[in-house]
């Protein structure tokens, strides 16, 4: 098991936030197609359907995870020393914070669409 700090300074942070977003996007898009094929809710329900609710809950959960991770990265970036390794670590952690934050913004922005539109129309 890697210590938490090692994970926060790991170069995977440069991709983590947006990779999570893209995975959630694939799941969301695929699930929407599947649910609309297998069990489409009545059109007259508009956006107030179980599908929309499930997508919204999922989006909020992923957003929360990414915000939490962004915060961790930001704190890690500010806690380093001034030696060469810390400089590299801080560079990765700050970028990681940005990538996680942007992932959260994109996830939530797309998720909010679930409040507005019917799922299968």
């Amino acid at each position: 098991m890697w210590p938490r700090e090692t994970l926060l300074y790991h170069p995977m942070q440069l991709a983590f936030g947006l990779a999570i977003w893209i995975l959630w996007f694939i799941v969301k898009y695929g699930a929407l197609a599947l649910f609309c094929e297998q069990a489409p809710p009545p059109i007259e329900q508009g956006a107030f359907t179980w599908i929309n609710a499930a997508l919204m809950v999922g989006s909020v959960a992923v957003t929360a995870l990414l915000l939490f991770w962004a915060n961790n990265c930001w704190r890690a970036a500010r806690s380093g020393n001034n030696d060469a390794d810390s400089e590299i670590n801080a560079f990765i952690a700050v970028l990681g914070a940005g990538i996680n934050l942007l992932g959260a913004v994109v996830t939530l922005s797309q998720g909010l669409m679930s409040l507005l539109l019917p799922p299968c129309l």
Binding site: P11, I22, E87, F91, I99, S109, L121
Partner: protein, 840 residues
């Protein structure tokens, strides 16, 4: 004086020694050159020629459209012209030219002597050249593709497009894509693993960040189109119905596969161009770029988000509103990272002391044009507006503002900037300024007006139009603008040609640039640097102005050449700390002949002579395996691997050399292709209107299970061998490798038997056709794993591989793991999931 003379003599002697090892042959043997400088220039010149051909096709179309109801070009030829214009510009010009520039620059910018897989670069170039020639020959023969550059089905199936036109596109472009993907792999590993000592990620030139992300986008973005092209060709040539609704397919699947590639493609082209902007602006603003970290953030974000937009090309096909909204939102959000870059560039200009040399003119032109293209892009991301202007000239205008503004203008800026590097001479200021202004005015005259033509309702891809619809004037203006632009481009070309003869000598670092490529000679030597400097900084040429001299003096690392090897540093991907010495392969005929054999395969498939295709497959396989045999750990690399005390080992003595990285990145591309197959399977299963699945799974699951277990045993066994090698044990290595190969062979045999005993009818339903493709994919991987392992066993017998040189076996390990993962994922998706669905 004497000391100076002696120093110069010593430098010249060292240079001669380096040239003996790194020099390029002349005459016919020039075809064997693998050096990145030569290969990069070849890519750029070839791409430039295709740009002129693509431009000529555009001029023909503008001539036809200049006035209503003209009959200069007949409709069928016009269809070929617009199809080939788009295809040539996207596949034969934009991507290859930018790859060529990246290949030329990246090693120089990161302080390396060559790209990490030089023979792969050369192979990529030959595939590109031969594939392009095959594709272009169709135009000469009058049988060019005529269905638009995105080849939508059912227009492109064998009913509506009989004849070889579409086949030229599918086979030619797929062949060219081999080149693109190989460049993507090459550039990724080179940037991550061959930076000079101390060049950590945070010191890397921004251009390298852009190219790294572009390369990874190629790795993930091209496979969906490669798969789509293979499926469509299989449908046309073998009757396997992937896109035929009547037999359970769906033409919309093609659109998904195409745009899964097509939208990232826009950013694959834009990112390197933006990299040129981020490289040039600080130089001409005479201060470091503002917001380095912000720009890196923006580059990575653009790379990711661009994969979540593809459906915005498909808003009119009837996708549910909520799904459209997801893509619409992502399309608008991608403007955030682009905006970050734009503000960083403006801030750099604002806070710097800009000097407006010729490259700056093109950069300012870029900012103006690309901003308009970006804004119309946001308009098109809005679904209702998109519906209104879909397939009109508005989209054509937007596309050209993005592509010409976002790619061509920065490319020409870069061309002028690095021209002294290519030739050692400066261009003419006067001709260059004329060239810019005529291109800029001509471009805007052509395409700004075209937005209006589109809003007036003129559809794209019509060969003529009737008078009286209000389209006459804007079309005439666009055509005039097109010719002005052509004159501008001609002026630029004239300037470039003349400068080789009349340009004044550039001297060292003529723009006072900050990056390492300006520490080489101009034009550069094949080895780039006699010695490789430490570079723990972002602006080496500003911080150490005497770097060029000290490098040439051999005062930095790895300046020995008496061993006769081509060497460069292998470094840690994050910190840039030196890990090993990478021994690079030299010139060879193998890349040329391998590409030639593959082009033979391409042509024989095109003319449907399958016996010849089989011969070409065997020839390709033999050549590629011969290449792998010659390219592994070299016997001659062994004797003095610790030639100088304090130097690290040669990469063949390690477990983590560049080959392993190359294999992993290759498998990422391979994985993207496999996921595209699974996407196709699930998509057809869920969405295809006439999906036809049999009552029972047409493959017996018991032998499949046995086959999978055998494969898993082989993989674990191979894993075990690598672990023992790490522990320094290689007893019975050869026997174990042969045994693994035999187990793998039995696995293949069981799989082939199961397939042959099944009731699969690949030409009857899409269901069976997709399963057949998955089986072919699996057998290809399993078979190759067996061959590679058998070769390793033979190499152990020859003494090329043992505990002292374990590198190659470690390279093969991820292939086994990947093959096994693919097997069980396929088993889950094709066998278990349908059973679960049926019982649900």
């Amino acid at each position: 004086m004497n000391t100076n003379n002696e120093t110069r003599k010593a430098e010249a002697a060292l240079h001669d020694e380096f040239l003996k090892v790194w020099g390029n042959p002349r005459g016919w043997r020039a075809l064997t050159i693998v050096n990145h400088t030569t290969v990069g220039i070849r890519f750029m010149i070839t791409g430039g020629i295709f740009f002129l051909i693509g431009g000529l096709l555009a001029m023909l179309m503008r001539t036809q459209l200049a006035l209503p109801e003209q009959e200069i070009i007949e409709p069928k030829l016009y269809d070929q012209l617009f199809t080939m214009h788009g295809t040539v510009m996207m596949f034969l010009f934009a991507v290859p030219v930018l790859e060529g520039l990246a290949m030329y620059l990246i090693p120089k910018m990161i302080g390396a002597r060559d790209l990490v897989f030089p023979r792969l670069s050369a192979f990529g170039y030959w595939c590109y050249l031969f594939g392009s020639l095959i594709l272009m020959s169709s135009l000469v023969l009058g049988i060019a593709p005529a269905a638009g550059w995105f080849m939508y089905t059912p227009l492109t199936n064998d009913v509506y497009s009989p004849g070889p036109n579409v086949d030229f596109w599918l086979l030619g472009v797929t062949f060219i894509e081999i080149s693109a993907v190989s460049a993507g792999i090459e550039l990724t590993v080179s940037i991550l693993r061959t930076r000079t000592s101390g060049m950590a990620l945070l010191h890397m030139p921004l251009f390298c960040w852009y190219i790294l992300i572009m390369a990874l986008m190629i790795v993930f973005g091209f496979p969906p189109l490669i798969l789509g092209s293979i499926l469509l060709e299989l449908e046309r040539a073998a009757g396997m119905p992937f896109f035929d609704v009547a037999r359970g397919g769906d033409p919309i699947l093609w659109q998904h596969l195409f745009w899964l590639f097509g939208h990232p493609e826009v950013y694959i082209i834009f990112l390197p161009a933006a990299g040129i902007v981020s490289t040039l602006l600080p130089v001409f603003s005479r201060q470091p770029i503002v917001g380095y970290r912000w720009i890196v953030l923006a580059i990575i974000s653009t790379g990711f988000i661009s994969f979540g937009l593809w459906v915005h090309h498909m808003f009119t096909i009837g996708i549910p509103q909520l799904a459209q909204a997801f893509f619409s939102m992502a399309s608008m959000l991608v403007a955030i990272p682009t905006g970050i870059q734009l503000f960083a560039w403006l801030a750099t200009l604002w806070t710097g002391r800009p000097v407006y040399h010729v490259p700056m003119l093109w950069l300012v032109g870029f900012l103006f044009i690309f901003m308009i293209g970006g804004l119309t892009g946001v308009m098109l991301a809005l679904v209702p507006f998109n519906w209104q202007v879909h397939d009109t000239h508005f989209v054509v205008a937007h596309l050209h503002y993005v592509m010409v503004g976002g790619m061509l203008f920065p490319l020409i800026a870069g061309l002028y900037y690095w021209l002294p590097h290519f030739s050692g001479r400066m261009p003419s200021d006067k001709l260059a300024r004329w060239g810019f202004w005529m291109t800029f005015v001509g471009f805007n005259t052509t395409f700004l007006v075209m937005h209006l033509t589109g809003l007036l309702g003129m559809p794209r891809r019509v060969y003529t139009y009737p008078a009286g619809l209000g389209w006459e004037l804007p079309n005439s203006v666009s055509s005039m603008g097109g010719f002005i632009m052509a004159m501008g481009i001609s002026m630029v070309l004239l300037d470039i040609v003349l400068h080789f003869r009349f340009g004044r000598p550039a001297g060292a670092n003529p723009w006072q640039a900050d990056t390492l490529e300006w520490a080489t000679d101009t034009p550069p030597q094949p080895y780039n640097f006699i010695s490789l400097p430490d570079c723990p900084m972002r602006h080496p040429m500003w911080d150490s102005p005497d770097l060029q001299a000290t490098i040439a003096d051999g005062r930095h690392g790895l300046s020995e050449i008496d061993h006769g090897r081509r060497e460069t540093w292998g470094s840690d991907p994050v910190s840039g700390a030196i890990r090993e010495i990478i021994h690079l392969p030299g010139n060879s005929w193998l890349p040329f002949f391998s590409a030639l054999a593959l082009s033979g395969l391409c042509i024989s498939l095109l003319i449907r002579t399958y016996s010849m295709a089989l011969i070409a497959v065997i020839a390709s396989l033999v050549l590629l395996l011969r290449w792998s045999w010659k390219n592994g750990a070299f016997l001659e690399a062994d004797s003095d691997s610790a030639a100088k005390s304090g130097y690290p080992q040669l990469h063949s003595r390690t477990f983590d050399g560049p080959g392993l990285w190359g294999m992993v990145v290759t498998l990422l591309a391979d994985g993207a292709l496999f996921l595209s197959i699974l996407f196709g399977w699930l998509y057809l299963r869920i969405v295809a209107p006439n999906w036809q699945a049999p009552e029972t799974v047409p493959l017996a699951w018991q032998p499949l299970l046995i086959s999978g277990v055998l494969l898993t045993i082989a993989t674990f066994w191979h894993h075990f061998i690598v672990r023992r090698l790490r522990e320094g044990r290689d007893d019975h290595l050869q026997g174990q490798l042969w045994s693994i190969a035999v187990v793998g062979l039995v696995h293949c045999g069981v799989l082939i038997w199961t397939w042959s005993a099944s009731s699969l009818l690949a030409t009857q339903t899409a269901h069976d056709a997709v399963i057949s493709v998955i089986l072919m994919y699996q057998l290809f991987h399993s078979g190759l794993a067996v061959i590679m392992t058998a070769l390793q066993a033979m190499r152990v017998a020859y003494g090329y591989v043992d505990k002292g040189a374990p590198y190659e076996i470690a390279v093969v390990k991820p292939w086994w793991l990947y093959t096994t993962a693919v097997y069980w994922l396929s088993f889950l998706t094709v066998i278990l999931l349908p059973i679960a669905w049926r019982s649900a």
